[in-house]
Amino acid sequence: MRERISFVLNGEPVELEIEPHLTLLQLLRDRVGLTGTKEGCGMGECGACTVLLDGKTVNSCIFPAMEVDGKSVTTIEGLTDAQGNLHPIQKAFIEYGAIQCGFCTPGLVLSAKALLDENPKPNEEEIRHGIAGNLCRCTGYIQIIQAIKAASGQ
């Protein structure tokens, strides 16, 4: 049995019929075809699947797709503007070497965005606290923290 949901995805209205047990991650990757959001563990333990729901980060792998009805979802694909320009956080990640294998990057960029949207000038401790839910094995986090600091204009 399928249920209908309608929500805003990266600024565009979307209406879909979904199986009620779908997770938001499955909705994005399999149904809509946006593969930028990654599955790192499937259990909400690594943050690779982070997306923004009404501006707040959630682990989409354990978030029921049924609950996005009436809400707005932003994935990594939604960060570039209509002209295809990169978001300042994306630029900073590139410039500061914050990306190696890149698998954790989409989730991290969105966590960084949520952090800076709420706290535009975070200190280092606040940055670490804000991204603690995103695991990265390649970078050791240091250049990611530098990138976020730079993106915040500090």
């Binding site: 990757r29 946006l34 593969t35 930028g36 959001t37 990654k38 599955e39 790192g40 563990c41 499937g42 259990m43 333990e45 690594c46 690779a48 994935t75 990594i76 694909e77 960060l79 570039t80 990169l86 994306q90 990640f93 590139i94 410039e95 500061y96 070497g97 990306i99 190696q100 294998c101 890149g102 698998f103 954790c104 990057t105 989409p106 960029v109 940055i127 670490r128 606290h129 991204i131 603690a132 839910g133 995103n134 695991l135 990265c136 094995r137 390649c138 970078t139 050791g140 986090y141 240091i142 250049q143 990611i144 923290i145």
Partner: protein, 766 residues
Amino acid sequence: MEEFVNVGKRIPKLDAEEKVTGKAIYIHDLKVPGMLHGKILYSPHPHAKIINIDTSRAEKLPGVKAVLTGYNIPPIKFGVYKDNVPLKAKKVCSMRDEVAAVAATDPDVAEEALHLIEVEYEILPPLFDPEEAMREGAPLIHEEHVGGKEKKPTNVLNLPWRLVAGDVEEARKNSTYVAEDRFKVTWVAHCCLGTSGCLAQFDLKNNLTIYSITQIPSLAQRDYMEAITAMGLKDKKVRVIKTMIGGGFGSKLDTYAFEYIAILLAHKARKPVKILFSREEEFFATSPRQPAIIDIAQGCTKDGTLTFRDIRMILDNGAYTSWGATTPSVMMMPISSLYKVPHVRYIAKCVYTNNTYSQAMRGYGNPQATFAIDSQIDILAEMAGIDPLDFRMRNANTPGEVTPQNFKINTCGLRECIDVVAQKLDWRQNRGRKDGRGIGMASMIHVGGGARVYKSDGCGTIIKVDDFGTVNVVTGATDMGQGSDTVIAQIVAEELGVRVEDVVVTHTDTDICPWDVGAHASRTTFVAGNSAKGAAKKVKDQLLEVASKSLGESPENLDIRDRIVFSKKDPEKKSPLGKVLRAAHYAAGGSMLMAEHFYDPPNENLDREFKGNLSVTYAYGTHGAEVEVDKETGQVKILKYIAAHDVGRAINPMLLEGQVYGGATMGIGYALTERLILKDGKVMNPNFLDYKMLTAKDVPNIETIVIETNDPFGPFGAKGIGEPGSVPTAPAIANAIYDAVGVRMKDLPITPEKVLAALKEKANPK
């Protein structure tokens, strides 16, 4: 110091934009039409005979297109020792043994089908302790395996790990101080954020294309060729195409059962088959770092000169053999060549058990051995009443040295590394307070100029330049996020006088890319870099030859800088690169610029005695840590962490720092928190909650210091850096803990419980 335009610059990684926008395609994102999903059934027992496998119910499930077991696959043997088969038929030797596999239209259907497969087992007595497994009369893991001089059935592998230099017994007698200790290190996991997987596809003629995340495309291609030959497909081609790789760290240095299973399923079902590991499978069914039980003795004279190093190791080989069993060949490196030590003896035994089996992981045995060696250096220094800083300086390797393993050390920045770490830690002031805060250091050596592990250590590059000055570099090297694509682009741009943005690097397809032995041994910058530089030089020569005609100047007087070809004698005589290229192309008897270069470094295979100049040059480094130990809880906090590395030259300082930060963070986890917990052969923590890799809140502020010794053999002087960051972390931290609270930790990870227990033992010795 020359002024470089592209080398030494903090240039962003070439594929960063693809990754930061979510456009990069990893194996997880790849779909091909008609694709089936493969899943694997694993053994529930660590050691058992397989009595029967019944797949009839699974085969009937709608959506299931192929079911395979050890009974119906051709004989494919893989692994370093060729003791592993993709699906087991006679017995299972570990809980990650693959017993059956299913390909279905949907991953959920495939999963359901696994539950319908009935396997009957007869349980056999398991062995989880390598020391027990070595004993006479222990149950045999592989009954047909015989070894030793008498060729008796045994669990001890026939591996020749024995290195002797000088006379250790004699040296021991002549030592004033001798330290003897046992150190233990256990399994840790790579934790790549992207889990493993592959997609196998046969064409109508039975040629295989496999989309893979391998670090060794050329060698994997050969392994797959052997497999399909065993499948009866003679003279067929294999093409390995790499998707974006979600982390490597050595985990993709070998071929795994799941890859052969995907190939077999694809062949049986006549459809492409994709296998993707869940995170749980990633933890229990991929191969972790090699554990070791290390018995080590070192000695020195009264004035602190090292005399000997005598080491015996027992390695838990697990159920099958992968690269873990070869880590002793790399452990020999610090054993023979970390600090000057004239007399060396090393014997390692690898033993089959019913545990998981190990693979390559960043450092490949070096972190394990260095933990023991450089922890004990501090112990020895204390016995001799000498400050560990002075002890290390006294015995530090120097340029021009030939070590007991016949390594020829050319550039060596070890002294500089030790010095700068001591300065940053304010060593003389801060050491010896024993008030809960302490400092410690440890050094490392690693191969920095390739490593002739196989008969070839080479890498090929093909370069072509188009009419507009775009330079296409096709390399055999593998980029798994570490940045080899960017470094190669910088080297080529520097050599050819163009900009980095003019260079496109292709590295993903064995049909197009030349041979490379693989991304291991921190060799890529050195070998692939030299290969690219060589090809670029050839292209440049062609270019200058062609330009000499249009500029009326002999080639020796020409150079290229920033896309302009100019005369060194008369810089006003110049022409843009594109113009020169088009002039050469669009003329009668025209030519296009293209060149290739296969660079195989002038290093040596180790001989029968494991001696030889394995690498062209060696990378040195020192790490230092300041820690605070909470004496009531045993928790260790790192207040300061310094990582100094002799890198030859930093082609890209930003990416290089990334390697050190990442390597050191992995190493700090190795020292303090990470452990793959096995109990009775079962991985108890196959998830990110209970496997404690560091989060952004845990990593200390790591300061990286780059020492440039300008190696004459490296491309623009560069040496390798991929692994060194992970090597000396554990001994540096253990040494700092000793300075802080006077307890010597010899067992990784150094958890709060172990520290507290040691503190209690110290206060009330039994």
